[in-house]
Symmetry: C2
Subunit: 322 residues, 2 copies
Amino acid sequence: MTARPEAGEGAGHDYRDDDLSSWMNRQGRRVEQALEAVLPAVVQVRPGLGENGLVEAMRYAVLGGGKRVRALLVYAAGEISGAAPDVLDAGACAVELIHAYSLVHDDMPCMDDDALRRGKPTVHRKYGEAVAMLVGDALQALAFEALVAPLRRPAGDGRPIVPVGEMVSVLAAAAGAGGMAGGQALDLAAVGARLDRRQLETMHQLKTGAMLAASVHLGLLSGGLLTPPMAGAAAAYSEAVGLAFQVVDDILDVIADSQTLGKTAGKDQAQDKPTYVSILGLDESQALARQLAQRARRALEPFGSRASRLAELADYIVHRVH
Amino acid sequence: MTARPEAGEGAGHDYRDDDLSSWMNRQGRRVEQALEAVLPAVVQVRPGLGENGLVEAMRYAVLGGGKRVRALLVYAAGEISGAAPDVLDAGACAVELIHAYSLVHDDMPCMDDDALRRGKPTVHRKYGEAVAMLVGDALQALAFEALVAPLRRPAGDGRPIVPVGEMVSVLAAAAGAGGMAGGQALDLAAVGARLDRRQLETMHQLKTGAMLAASVHLGLLSGGLLTPPMAGAAAAYSEAVGLAFQVVDDILDVIADSQTLGKTAGKDQAQDKPTYVSILGLDESQALARQLAQRARRALEPFGSRASRLAELADYIVHRVH
C-alpha cells in the first residue's frame, strides 16, 4: 500500500464516521490497497527477457494519484445495497482501472498529446508510445479480471449470489462504443465544431457520465439484482452527477492553474473545444452545477438515509477545487 | 451476415459432416453472423452529432476477414464439453473481438506501422490513428460484453450453470499483461535483440499462445467447470498448437507472398525480429511444426473421439498456407 498522509490524520483516531472527508480518505486508501494487490508486481516479469517496462508503467499509471471519484461512487452505492466488502473492492478497482487506461490513451500524441497528468509526466512521455498503448490495453483487461476475481466461483458455494454476468455487462457497455470510447470519438469529431448545449451533453454523458453511472450501478449490483425503481433512481442520480462533474471540469479548466489540477489547465480553450463555459458563460455554468447537485440529491430520496454518502458525493463533485 | 462464397460450396448440399473444410466453412459463417449481431449497427450513431466513424471502423476491423482460428478452437472444444450453441457463439465472438482489436493496435505507427491487413488498408490508414486507437479500445470492451451476453442472468433461471466469472477471468488473463499484451511488450523489447529459442518461445506463448489456449479453455468451460485432468490435457494441447501456429507464421513470413498472406510478407526479417526460421533454419522449423502437431494430437487422447475436430485443427494449423 502506498502511504498517503492526509490532512487531519495522525492526530489520533477520533475522526467521526459521519465526516465525508474522513470517509473519502479511508475509502481512498482502501481502493489504493486493493489496486496494489490487483496489479502485477514488477518482479513477476518473465526470466531471461529482462525488464520490458510494461508492468512498471501500469503501476505508474494507476497508483498514487487521482481523486478516485469512481471508486468512491462504488463504495457509497454499496452502502445502499449492503454488498460484501470484497465485492465492492473488486468493482472499485475495475472502474479505476478503466479510468486509468482511458487517461493513458487519451494523453497520447494521436489524441490530446498531453505531457502532464496527476502532476507527473504522462505514461507515453515517460515510457514511450508503444508501451503506453499496451499499458492501456492491459489495464482494460485487468479491470475485467479484477471485477470477477471474488465472483468467479460457480453458484452454490454458500456465498450470496452476485449477478456477475450483469456486472461485467454494465462495465463493458459503459467502457465501449456506446459509452466512454464512443464519447471520446464524438469529442474528437467536435474539435473546432460549434456544438449546442444538447449535443455537448450527449457527448459528455457518453465520455464521462457512462462510467460514473456504471460505478453507482456496480455498487448497487454488488448486493444483488436491482428492482426497476432502484435502477431508475440510480440512473437519475448518475445522470445529474455525470453532468455536474463535467460542468465543474469545464469551470476548473478556466479558473484553476495547472499545478492545482495536476494536468494542463486551459487546454480546452487552446484546442478550441466546446465547453459549458464557452456556451453558457462562467456564472451560468456555476449555477447549473449547483442545480444538478440538488437534482442528484432529490433522485436519492427513495433510498432514505442509506444514500447519505451518495448525496454528499454529489455536493463534493460540485464544490471540488481540482 | 456478410456473404462469403467458399470453394466447394454452391454445388449442392452434399458435403459430409465429417469433412474439416466444410465444418470450418460452416463455423466460419456462424461466427461471422454472430459478430455481425454483436457489433453496433452504423445507424445507431447518436443523432445531432453526425457520423463519427467509430462504429463503421469497428465493423471494418472485424467483419469479412481472417481465418477465425480462435473461434474454430472454441467451437471444436465445445464438441467435447457439449456446451449450448449460444454460449459457444459468445465465446467465439469474444476471442475474435480480442484478436481483431490486437491487430488494429499492433498495426499502428507506434507499433509495427503496417499498411496492409487481411488484404485491405489497416484501420489507422483508413480512419486515422485516433479512431484506430478507440476502435481497439471499444472492441476489447465489446469482447467482454459479448462473452457474458447469454450468461448475464443470475443462477436459478433453469439454464445449465456456466461458470461465467471463470470465463471472464480466463479471457482477461489471456488478453492482459500476463498474456497477449505482455507478449507484445516482450516482442517490442526483442527487436534487434538476439533471443535464444527458449526466450522466443516464452514471448510467443504470451503473445499468441495465451489467446489460443483461452479459446480452447472457453469452449470447454462453456459446458461447465473442468476437472483438473481435463484442464491439464487442454493446456498441453494448447501449448503445442500455440507454438506450432507461431512456427508456421514464421515459415510463411519467409516463403509466402503478401497477396497470399493478406499482410506484408518478409516483415520480420526487414524489422530484424528473431524468428524460428532465423534461429533453427527453414527445414528444422518445418520439422518442428509437424512434431508439435503430433504432440497436440497425443494430448487429446483422454478426450477420445469427441476431440476429433481439435485434432484436425492442429493439423490444419501446421499445413495452412496463409
